[in-house]
Subunit: 146 residues, 2 copies
Amino acid sequence: MLGFTVVAISLAADSNVEQAVRDADEQWSKVAGARDVDKTVAFYAEDAMVLPPNAPMVTSKPGIRDLWKTLLGSLSDISWKTTHVQAAKSGEMAVLVGTYQLTMKDGTKDKGKYCEVWTKQADGKWKCTTDTFSSDLPASPPTETK
Amino acid sequence: MLGFTVVAISLAADSNVEQAVRDADEQWSKVAGARDVDKTVAFYAEDAMVLPPNAPMVTSKPGIRDLWKTLLGSLSDISWKTTHVQAAKSGEMAVLVGTYQLTMKDGTKDKGKYCEVWTKQADGKWKCTTDTFSSDLPASPPTETK
């Protein structure tokens, strides 16, 4: 019975972690969809890394803020949804994979996928520590006019 | 002393996990650099997901093999190096972030970054379960001729 109890607690912990990060990620998509730069950037840990396509890795909060300010300023809507969660048994980190869709202000639509690493912080809050995403669509040059 | 011992064991475990995944990743870069498709694909778990830029997510081993066969067939060299490792305290998963560089057969060079999730399998071997990467360079259309 002890073994069973330990397994049951472990499964419950995994399930709690998965739900916590799914909930946080859903909130994140909502604030990004509302184009709120500050609230969007607040989901990143202080030491977060963002790996955007066609640009070098960004490893500072001001750099991440600039990236989101530019992105949210150029689009009319964005949303994403997690499709896979892999939580560590120790309950302090989880990897989320999912798909996004967005519409630029000029009407151009994009869709793609992402991989986010979430880490439980010292205060118990979940923050994104690594964020990477890329389009599903064929590459187009940055200067292309539609 | 018990607390100290537990912490010491935990740190040693983290360090062992980090070294194990770094070693596996270094071997992976070598077999890819030798353009060995089978050995390269063998580093993925059966249920691995690859998130390539400008293409949909690939979630099957045959799909992943096709991706690498095309990629390794079009380049003359590729290598990568992990710069950050985040290992779960429970020791069964780790996230690696690093940079890659490659040269296509036509001489075009590319460099970029990646995020790999590694998971310890039932047989104790480490395999890549999620792999995503993107170029640091500005987007160019797929039909562009150099």
